[in-house]
Homo-oligomer: 302 residues x 2
DNA sequence: TTGTAGGCGTTATCAT
DNA sequence: ATGATAACGCCTACAA
């Protein structure tokens, strides 16, 4: 069309205050240019951080990411999925709320629209999974602490995140395989469990060593408990987390942790949701290699 | 209609796998049964906690709440608002990202759809505001600490959240009015500022007293810094926060804080968005009375 | 370049 | 109680 016409139309639109109606456009195009992101719990810093980063990963694209929280409730999760489906999202990113009971929501979703499960793997389905290579992450952690102090010269503790999730199991198995003589205890991915675990470690009479946690939220609980008992990180206990949630670089001391490459992951998710039949889209399980971020809680040796 | 017909239709729908197309319904009804919630930053525990609670407040209603994060970026906030407007949400809840630069997004929003500004007040507009009565909250704090120890017998510190937001200004003014001889310092609503403020308090040679913070995130930073220096809460310093973010009852020691009545607030928001012209909807500024939640960081005196 | 018609899936209305 | 029709706002296709 001519430049002049174009301008005329645009300026008229501006004058009249025209606003596209994306609902009508979506109906006509059978496409909404939106993705749904279902989060288990926004009050958990790990998930809210993840939500933020996923959302940020799509900020340059022209699709909008709508976030819904399941509030740790399987029926709310299902409602969120149904709502997104009814609203004709072009794809769905689900962080399952429950290792087994999220299966239904996931199946329903994938039946209607390209769907990926993110971060938590629900067994028994062939819905593509995007996650981190937990074994590799633990390898990084192991190499890091071995480089600081010979492994035979330090007491190593591992605080697990439970065996009811794939990440919990993999992180524990990954670390214990590398260092079987670890003082190991298992719990859940929570701040409270970190506090309890630290209490347990101290009650055994330990006054120094290296504490590896299956998640940052656990490590934050450990820090808080150690500090309450007057023990210093990293002077008395070196401490390492996993995930790199937003506050990890803010706490004192800043937490050494394993960072998931969320940005790269969202790029792949985008690719998979847009071309579900491409080579990438048919991958069943995609594991990304994480990085180790060394901070003050376990500084490099000199 | 007859019971029998009803069942016949429903079962046929189930067999055929019929799913409503909410996009088409929205086009026809000129109503989407959805609200948009715009959050400044999901990585900040206060906002993610708020998002979770707002979302929870609407879980019983039949409208869906879609969350979008502005990532602390005024242009992303504007994009989110435009997207929601294009998608014809029935109402918009905006937590402004910036005290002044969010005005445009807010104005555009309210021009098209019932809009409320939540938690942060942007001056220069008549868009309804829902927030907490910060003066009353500080009154509660003051009464609480005065009841523990006569005010003349304790050194009181106030750590502010900055004067660039209404909550920051009101909380500071509210407390100082009640106790002018406070040792006062001002910063921002952040964990890092809490750490710095604690460092400042200690560097002045103080070893005990009562520290009142304008927000929980600040108080968490204070705790972390005090712990790092081996000082105990509440033994050496009593500590009080504001907001009751999710992790406040988890940290050690659990934080005494002023809880915003989010549930009641969301009920009113819902009312205002649905009946913008009702008595409630025309209120310009609605301030809710908060509660004091006493936890271990400043226990009741015996 | 400009104009017009049809249909996306739903629901409100009007007629049978 | 059931059926037919139009319209929500947009985009595509085809005609003028």
């Amino acid at each position: 069309m001519s430049e002049e016409l174009r301008d005329r139309v645009l300026s008229s639109a501006a004058v009249l205050g025209y606003q596209v109606n994306l609902v009508a456009r979506a109906l006509r195009k059978e496409k909404t240019s939106s993705f749904g992101l279902v989060i288990p719990d926004l009050e958990n810093p790990f998930f809210s951080s993840l939500a933020q980063q996923v959302s940020r990963g799509f900020s340059e694209s022209e699709v909008d990411v709508m976030i819904a929280s399941a509030d740790n409730d399987i029926s709310q999760e299902l409602r969120a999925v149904r709502s997104f489906l009814g609203r004709q999202v072009d794809g769905l990113i689900v962080i399952p709320s429950d290792e087994t009971r999220s299966l239904e929501a996931l199946e329903i979703a994938s039946q209607h629209v390209p769907t990926v499960q993110f971060d938590r793997f629900v067994p028994g389905t062939s819905i593509p999974f995007i996650g981190v290579d937990n074994h590799f992450g633990m390898q990084l952690v192991h190499d890091h602490i071995a480089q600081q102090v010979p492994m035979s010269h330090q007491q190593v503790f591992f605080v697990g995140g439970g065996s009811s999730s794939s990440s919990g199991r993999e992180r524990t198995a990954g670390f214990l395989a590398l260092h079987p003589e670890t003082n190991f205890r298992d719990g859940s991915f929570s701040f409270a469990w970190g506090q309890e675990a630290a209490r347990g470690i101290l009650s055994e009479g330990n006054l120094r060593g290296t504490i590896v946690c299956a998640a940052d939220v656990i490590a934050l609980g450990v820090i808080s408990r150690l500090a309450a008992d007057g023990l210093k990180v990293p002077h008395d206990f070196r401490l390492i987390g996993f995930d790199d949630v937003g506050v990890s670089h803010l706490v004192h001391p800043a937490l050494t942790t394993v960072r998931q490459p969320i940005f790269e992951m969202t790029a792949v998710i985008q690719e998979m949701l847009y071309n579900p039949d491409s080579k990438m889209g048919t991958q069943f399980r995609l594991m990304f290699r994480p990085d180790l971020i060394v901070r003050q809680s376990s500084p490099h040796s000199h």
